[in-house]
Symmetry: C2
Subunit: 301 residues, 2 copies
Amino acid sequence: MKLNILGCYSATPRTFTNPTAQVLEIKNHLFLIDCGEGTQVQLRKNKIKFARIKHIFISHLHGDHYFGLAGLISTFRLLTRKTELHIYGPKGLKDVITLQMKLADSWTNYQLVFHELTSTESELIFEDDNVEVYTIPLDHRVYTNGFLFKEKPGERKLNMQSVEKAHIDKAYYRKLKQGADVENKKGQLIKNVDVTNSPDPIKSYAFCSDTAYKESIIPIIENVDVLYHESTFLEQHAHLAPKTKHSTAKEAAQIAKKANVGILILGHYSTRYGNLDAFMKEANPIFKNVELAEDGKVFEF
Amino acid sequence: MKLNILGCYSATPRTFTNPTAQVLEIKNHLFLIDCGEGTQVQLRKNKIKFARIKHIFISHLHGDHYFGLAGLISTFRLLTRKTELHIYGPKGLKDVITLQMKLADSWTNYQLVFHELTSTESELIFEDDNVEVYTIPLDHRVYTNGFLFKEKPGERKLNMQSVEKAHIDKAYYRKLKQGADVENKKGQLIKNVDVTNSPDPIKSYAFCSDTAYKESIIPIIENVDVLYHESTFLEQHAHLAPKTKHSTAKEAAQIAKKANVGILILGHYSTRYGNLDAFMKEANPIFKNVELAEDGKVFEF
């Protein structure tokens, strides 16, 4: 699992900072999460292949989270994309993108599939053989979802030395991988655990931005390997957090602690702060494994 | 008059090139012309004061000419702008911007005034004591206007030595500036031309992008000091120009020559070309005073 931060600042794009966008690489998918203005340039700078993006998840319809989407859709068209593009986001997103295409009289030559979200309960919005994606209902000024990305458990791994020693026919390998006990060539029952190893541990990533401090997300994100939680403010501006429905670094750390996550990544910093050390300083006493998002930074788990 | 090119490439923003946007400084106005994605970052990089922009002119509703507008409007709001913002552009622009504000539940705290354009004839769309702005109907795949910016003639300038020598009362200075003959303190008629000099010559700038070769714009842009005319293609791709309703460098030069303009600036280059020298090479034999637009370049006239 690889997380490429394209932008992790709030509000407005500036010369050296970008609004929210990140790419999660998981089980051969490249999921784009949010798409602030300038995302396509950030994709280029970070050498991410446009064609590999087939699913885009938009948390909410504030400009700093989706004003780059119309341009990206249009660039896909100019690149003569053929493959489907799936977009998951709040109701209304389809209308605004469709209106822009209509006014430009420029329709995509590939299929654009909108999955409009309206539920205030967590729901499964994407699933294939390897990955599941759930919404995480957040508490912001407009309808907002975070997203939980979870690998599905893989198959058990054959211990080839033991398998051969136990004289098991190749025809039974598939069954072994699925966890079954099998008979060997001599008619003896071979226990699965004796000839296989556990599958790779499944990994999970939760993206939570933008949101006020919201404890009811904890059951959804409990035990995730990595949590990206917004921390727009430092303590000195804590009074602004409930009013604007954002969180402080300290609150993000409290959520991480209570949800027993592996690593907490902070981001969505207000552009009023010159340097990010204070975010670490305020979150760290509450939760130990804190990382700071930065534009262009790549996290591998 | 000062023209700051923020972006002069067609189609998509890339790592080092930007879609169309430029700022014209004329008689103390800062007019923003087109607003492709990333324009607000380009404004910052070029150190242009956001608050000084009070009028934005949008040529047409292809994304590379206005996808930065919603973000800029939203940034103005975050900067707690108070002054009115006037936006001139094709019908439909108001709908799409309003829909985006509605979905974000974020309305401007300053007055946003849309001037929606529908005429296919050149019309006066802005006027004050010093400047006039006219549309230039262009020929593109969607409804498109160029814009003609013209200074108004200023007042005649007093030649103070002659004025004093002629014993003219200060009360008549205003009349002299307006071109009238006046009586001096001795009751003698003083001819205006004997005590004043001509006003500064008026300057004019025409922005024409995007458009196919269109001779009927010539009467509108005739004799302008500076013409920015799109040149998406070189001769090797001339066959694409009529189909996509764009122009070649050669066609831009032909328009410049026939309209007897002072300087031709080429721009809106297709991103397929690695270097711009060929644009100059193809335009130059037809029209001598050619300049190449480049992102960040400033022209002073």
